[in-house]
Chain length 345, copies 2
DNA sequence: GTTAGCACTCTCGCACAGAGAGTGCTAACT
DNA sequence: AGTTAGCACTCTCTGTGCGAGAGTGCTAAC
């Protein structure tokens, strides 16, 4: 891997950087003209030939300039991975936006997706934090009319669900309030599984409600952890490599199908490397449809408690230098926010 | 308008229907071959020439077949508007999906958008119902830690908001419960404005909470009524008229920008024609970017109480016969559901 | 009013040539 | 040994010209 001479390294990085900007194959002459290297085009040709031999560059056809291969990009990314930092002004802007937004998880997600899409000019995707251990906090029962009761369920972490249940017979608000406060004492801090265990040995009214609580929490856990937020779907259409629509369509279609997308994200991330980014270049064997694309993915949250995934999809020649630190920064922010809400109790 | 002979009518409808299917200009010969009319191509040419003269058809160039003009489509739509009905099997499938879904507004919206996009193969958009008169129903105050209190607010219509407020000094859960139940008696059924009026003449704790209630409701009203759900963004890329990306991109971009989109919908719909559809053909002067597109829009909900908009964007040669009844049906379903939740109290 | 026939027009696809860009190789230079 | 100038070569891209095909409008006959 590191049998590259110093000159070859700088040349390779230069070529990739230029190609990311111009979206065109880079020739030796162009290189000499644009950057005043103290070298002739012939020398550069020799080096380029060597880099091609080594698999970092590729020629679309015999008489075109060079284009980075996946290996080339990977080298490029590995070089800049550590240094790339988001300018402080951008950091502040983003933080500001988050602090201005509401305290609702879905708002955070939407905002994160929007910021990622904007900054990177790619397609962003954010999954809501999946809460590993859901714990009961509080329940309210409000009679609405006849046998219909509105149940409000508060979970540790501040999440609130509501649900309407229909009882076998009308029950007064007073009795409902009593039941609620009794249950609150009984269930405080218990996990779903513990509550489910309790259900069996309870009397009629309690059983109805407990069953519903368990059901609701479980269903909701599925739904919320399945929630996927995307933004910038159309950004990618601006890229020159997607002028023939077919390619773009196939890639975008995947992003339009939440289930497939979730699957893809799950397969490529593990829960315990918070802070570490993954950069998938050219599909990297993961998904045939993304052969022309790259993805930058990160996990955020608190391992073992609540974690989610976020990432950006772009063309293979996306601006890694900008996107990588952005993804990292936003992941950090979201982690902090998740941490705050969880440790709140 | 109705100076069309019977034969011209059937011919016009035939041409449009064929063009919607084939996406190609329709020539006289093709028409004779495909549908066994008892006419020669020459006769048809004469009629086509007349239809062109009248502005219903157009020739892309001298020696191509005919293509419908906007006026042609409009005539087509006006002819089928009343008869088009959704097959009962489809109706049942859709109803079923709605009844299976949760009771959460945002789930309805997502589902509606998904169904519309799928059925029509176009881009769908649904705005959440805007509640005109928000009324208070119930509040709960739950102490979490120190001075932080979780406020849960239930509105008439079943909507539930939560919000964390920080008090000047710690207050016991008991006192909070008292306050909550007092407020519940006081505010039941009041509108936001009425509550705001009360705020002035209340003591410290009440005032804090009341202010927050008003704030929260107002902010939430803005947010929810601003919520826009879209689906099928990539469907439109499959259409042959969008193979050059530029056109598609501009149209899609608008659908990616919630604010612009909302503006557009608001401008083209009025709140009081629930049940009536609007069909905008070729942008219809509304929006330059949609020159190649059509939109089918409907309002749903209960006028004066809560209404929202939903619609489908597709190419001008979209399948009106299928999309119009679908939009109408889904609008009806959503209206029913809104009606149910509102009249629930 | 309808139809057959015909000349006309315009697009589309294809082949072909020339320009341009970039390469690899060789030989000369430092 | 490394670097450079020069040159022949290859391949894409662009524009042009031409024939095929499709469709039309018009005229004259039915």
């Amino acid at each position: 891997m590191n049998d590259l001479t110093e000159r070859q390294k700088t040349l390779l990085l230069l070529i990739i950087r230029d190609h990311i900007e111009s979206a065109q194959p880079i020739g030796s002459k162009r290189l000499v003209d644009h950057y005043h290297l103290n070298l002739s085009s012939a020398t550069i040709r020799n080096e380029m030939s060597a880099l091609t031999e080594m698999g970092y560059l590729r020629q679309p056809h015999t008489s075109a300039g060079r284009v980075p291969t996946e290996a080339g990009y990977r080298y490029f990314v590995s070089q800049m991975m550590d240094q790339a930092v988001l300018p402080e002004t951008v950091q502040r802007t983003i933080s500001h936006q988050f602090h201005q937004s509401g305290s609702d998880v879905s708002q955070w997600m939407t905002l994160a997706a929007s910021i990622l899409a904007h900054q990177s000019q790619g397609v962003s995707v954010v999954t809501a934090p999946h809460i590993e251990q859901i714990k009961f906090k509080h329940v309210e029962l409000i009679s609405t009319q006849g046998r219909q009761v509105l149940m409000i369920l508060v979970l540790v972490g501040g999440e609130v669900n509501q649900q309407i249940l229909t009882l076998a017979e009308p029950v007064s608000q007073e009795r409902l309030s009593q039941t609620a406060s009794r249950l609150n004492g009984l269930l405080a801090g218990l996990t779903v599984d513990a509550i489910a265990a309790l259900t069996a040995r309870s009397d009629a009214l309690d059983r109805d409600i407990l069953t519903l609580i368990v059901q609701d929490v479980r269903r909701n856990a599925d739904r919320v952890s399945g929630d996927i937020y995307t933004d910038g779907l159309t950004n990618v259409l601006a890229e020159p490599e997607f002028t023939e629509t077919e390619e773009a369509r196939r890639a975008l279609k995947i992003f339009g199908e939440p289930s497939t997308l979730k699957n893809l994200l799950d397969r490529t991330t593990t829960g315990d490397n918070i802070g570490g980014l993954q950069v998938l270049i050219g599909g990297e064997g993961v998904w045939e449809e993304f052969r022309q694309c790259s993805m930058i993915i990160a996990r955020y949250g608190v391992p073992g408690m609540a974690t989610g995934t976020l990432g950006v999809l772009g063309p293979m020649r996306m601006s890694y230098a900008k996107t990588i630190p952005t993804v990292r920064f936003v992941a950090g922010l979201l982690s902090d926010m998740v941490n705050d809400t969880i440790s709140g109790e």
